[in-house]
Point group: C2
Chain length 128, copies 2
């Protein structure tokens, strides 16, 4: 948990910043989650993405229940120091809890959101 | 400002969601900013990215002072409905106020952030 580099981040009032996971090979944006200091420190130390689950109020080692870990190739920080970008290798090719590659599977088409990506694997098979 | 599609978004307590701008051609993540209902409605209506500036407390038509507009090819929404992803054509090839292509120009190298991208154009020439 030490490290001046963690202090250069502008943590929000809740101690969190958004973290974007991007596929290191394809460039696809896979998901956005949240990190606190410990999540980012553990991500850097282990080389695997660790987030902070706001709903569960605890650290979330991505893949701990799905098996869909994210090996982190690179960690970047934006100009304001308040958003983190990870380049990851997505295990299983599935980042989303719906069983899709990416969480961004809905596209605005006129005045409605269209689901434009197929489920790769049934979530019941992932989490069941 | 009407449109049920805007209601499908889980706006935060401050009425905002983060919006990621990704280069439609290269896949580079260029920046992250915030949107309220009106910003997203205007983005969809005009085809150019409009954000909400938290620091200035008003709508921010990206490029209004820099000239670096973002033409929006696609708007996506994530599974939780609380993050927006834009595929954009970045005018001038510069998204960042520092004069760089992307705001994510710092990379974690051991225990420090290294600046790994050059300034494309001096900000004084952009905003001066």
């Amino acid at each position: 948990m030490s490290g001046g580099w963690l202090e250069e981040i502008k943590w929000g009032p809740d101690g969190l910043v958004p973290a974007i996971a991007q596929d290191a090979e394809t460039g696809r944006v896979l998901m956005v989650a949240w990190m606190n200091r410990e999540a980012l420190a553990q991500t850097a130390a282990t080389g695997h993405a660790v987030y902070w689950s706001r709903s569960r109020g605890k650290l979330w080692r991505k893949g701990e229940s799905s098996g869909h870990q994210q090996r982190v190739r690179e960690v970047r920080l934006d100009c304001d120091g308040d958003v983190v970008l990870l380049a990851v290798e997505q295990k299983g090719g599935i980042a989303c809890h719906t069983g899709r590659e990416s969480c961004f599977y809905r596209r605005l088409d006129g005045d409605r959101w269209e689901t434009v990506e197929a489920v790769v694997k049934d979530p019941e098979q992932i989490y069941g």
